[in-house]
């Protein structure tokens, strides 16, 4: 179990983490979400003992994070940190050696990792000759080679095609089933929704909401959301407000929060007289919760 309790970190006078508290359990993918600059990377640096915290406690399996806990943690950073002129197998072997695995154990772990990331047939391929998706998978394999109990995946699917993304999602699910704790950071909210058992929304160095998707949904006073595209936005907002609906702007779209689910005809009737380009009804998703929490915006 990973536990951060009241962690604070500043760079000079800039406070990056403020009293950060979170817990991630075994057999769980914990999604750490937040905009750029929210403090996700600093949090990862602290968990990996690459940075010193100013205050607070960080423990993994009731052990304070220190140089000694390094071998319990595996991390797949955003960038693929691989030796380009070595093969997949050689990259894995090098890191396995650094983590002190003996020859037999190394052989088994390398085989397991290559299988897990579906690179068995490319074991001897030079990294520079692999596709971006393969390099990404190898980057994850390196994080797993020493059999860590906590794995941190920092935006593991950014920039990947949909097929590779599905492969990595499937790998993450398989890893979770082995009983390890996974911390996942991502900007892809559908990914977080699909993979994470619990989520922590980080804003300005603080967790502003935490829990399962269902718990987070309950914190939103709506059951459904209506998305409208119209040239006459102001009119539509005014109409919505008259009917007691809470309006939101999502880019060019206009959204209204519905406290209770309603059928489409009833909704359309509400906007009679306003020329609509499109109208759709959606159930509340993480994306909506995230935007609500982050923007706390009202029109």
């Amino acid at each position: 179990m990973l536990k951060l309790d009241g962690v604070c970190k500043s760079y000079g006078s800039r406070e990056v983490l403020r009293n950060l508290t979170l817990t991630a359990y075994p057999r769980e993918v914990y999604g750490l979400l937040g905009p750029n600059g929210a403090g996700k990377t600093t949090t990862i640096n602290l968990i990996c003992n690459l940075l010193e915290r100013d205050r607070g406690r960080i423990e993994f399996n009731q052990q304070p994070i220190s140089a000694a806990t390094k071998s319990l943690i595996g991390i797949a950073p955003q960038q693929n940190l691989l030796y380009q002129s070595l093969s997949c197998q050689e990259n894995l072997n090098f890191y396995a050696q650094l983590y002190g695995l003996n020859k037999q154990h190394r052989k088994e772990q390398i085989a397991w990792c290559l299988d897990a990331v579906q690179l068995r047939d490319r074991a001897r391929s030079i990294v520079a000759n692999l596709s971006g998706g393969m390099q990404r998978r190898l980057n994850i394999a390196v994080a797993l080679v020493h059999n860590p109990e906590l794995v941190i995946l920092d935006e593991p699917t950014t920039g990947l095609d949909i097929e590779t993304r599905y492969e990595i999602w499937s790998l993450i699910n398989k890893l979770r089933e082995t009983g390890i704790t996974i911390i996942l950071t991502t900007h892809l909210l559908d990914e977080a929704e699909k993979l994470c058992q619990r989520l922590g929304l980080l804003k300005s160095g603080q967790i502003i909401a935490e829990g399962t998707l269902e718990t987070l949904k309950k914190s939103i006073p709506a059951e459904e959301i209506v998305m409208i595209k119209t040239q006459e936005k102001e009119k539509a907002i005014q109409r919505g407000q008259e009917l007691g609906l809470t309006p939101r702007r999502y880019g060019n779209d206009l959204a209204f929060w519905l406290p209770q689910a309603q059928d489409l005809k009833t909704i359309m009737d509400k906007f009679t007289g306003i020329p609509l380009d499109s109208l759709s009804r959606e159930s509340i998703r993480l994306e909506h919760i995230y935007l609500e929490m982050m923007q706390q915006s009202s029109i």
């Binding site: 990377t41 990862i44 640096n45 990996c48 690459l50 940075l51 140089a67 390094k70 071998s71 943690i73 991390i75 950073p77 955003q78 960038q79 940190l81 691989l82 030796y83 380009q84 002129s85 070595l86 050689e90 090098f94 890191y95 050696q97 650094l98 983590y99 002190g100 030079i126 390196v142 920092d154």
Partner: protein, 257 residues
């Protein structure tokens, strides 16, 4: 055991990477042989020495002055810079690898390359009748101290001055070529004018060359090469210490994802 295991892992990795870049290996072989042949034949002709004597005198300076300079100094700068450019350094910081093992790993890898070059230089020199006169082990120690000094200096340059791979050549050329000439690598120091010789005494490559030349080619006694050995020993220690401090400085700067 941990340090040994990590050192070997780092050294193996560097040698594997080098093995993949066969061209570099070939150049590192061609370079000392070319310098040896040029030095040997020029010495034989201009100093009126037999070919065997000329090559006996040309081999030590070719090895420590030229071959090790480019492979061990240039190589260690390139290793550190490439590691930083590929960002693999960050992953090393995440692992339990100790800084000492990292440094030793780079030293061991370059020592292997240096010893390989030494064997090559002396194989070719032997073909022309060259001989190692005496003090085999002391000669090896001079070679190892030279490698340590070059690797230490490589760490300093690689962490402090070279930001990108392209910087390596310019850096090695700017610092190296004048030092090599002044060290008696291409032109025997005995031909230097007095004023230049006085400056050369501050050049570590001059002392490396003179120490190995003295014992392996000119049958000098230990007391005759003592000052060179002392200079080299102090220089190696300072460079290793400086390299270590530079590495610690790099840790502070780069130790973040």
């Amino acid at each position: 055991m941990k340090y040994w295991r990590e050192t070997i892992a780092v050294a193996q990795r560097i040698l594997l990477e080098l093995g993949r870049r066969r061209r570099s290996l070939i150049f590192w072989g061609i370079f000392p042989i070319t310098i040896l042949l040029l030095n040997g034949f020029i010495l034989a002709e201009r100093a009126n020495l037999s070919t065997a004597e000329a090559f006996t005198n040309a081999a030590p300076v070719t090895l420590v002055g030229a071959a090790l300079f480019f492979s061990c100094l240039g190589g260690s700068v390139a290793t550190v810079v490439a590691e930083r450019e590929q960002h693999t350094l960050k992953r090393l910081f995440l692992s339990p690898l100790s800084g000492l093992s990292y440094f030793l790993g780079i030293f061991v890898a370059h020592a292997c390359i240096g010893i390989g070059q030494g064997i090559l230089v002396y194989l070719v020199a032997t073909l022309f009748g060259a001989q190692i006169e005496q003090y085999w082990l002391l000669g090896l120690l001079i070679i190892l101290m030279s490698i340590a000094a070059y690797v230490g200096l490589g760490f300093i340059l690689g962490t402090q001055l070279a930001r990108r791979t392209e910087d390596v050549n310019a850096l090695v050329a700017a610092f190296g070529v004048p030092l090599l000439i002044l060290g008696g690598t291409f032109l025997p120091a005995s031909l230097f004018p007095e004023s230049l010789l006085n400056i050369a005494k501050f050049n570590p490559i001059y002392h490396m060359n003179q120490a190995l030349l003295g014992i392996w080619a000119q049958e000098e006694s230990l007391s005759q090469v003592q000052s060179h050995l002392l200079f080299l020993m102090i220089f190696s220690l300072v460079m290793v210490g400086g390299g270590w401090l530079s590495y610690q400085g790099m840790l502070v700067r780069e130790r973040r994802l």
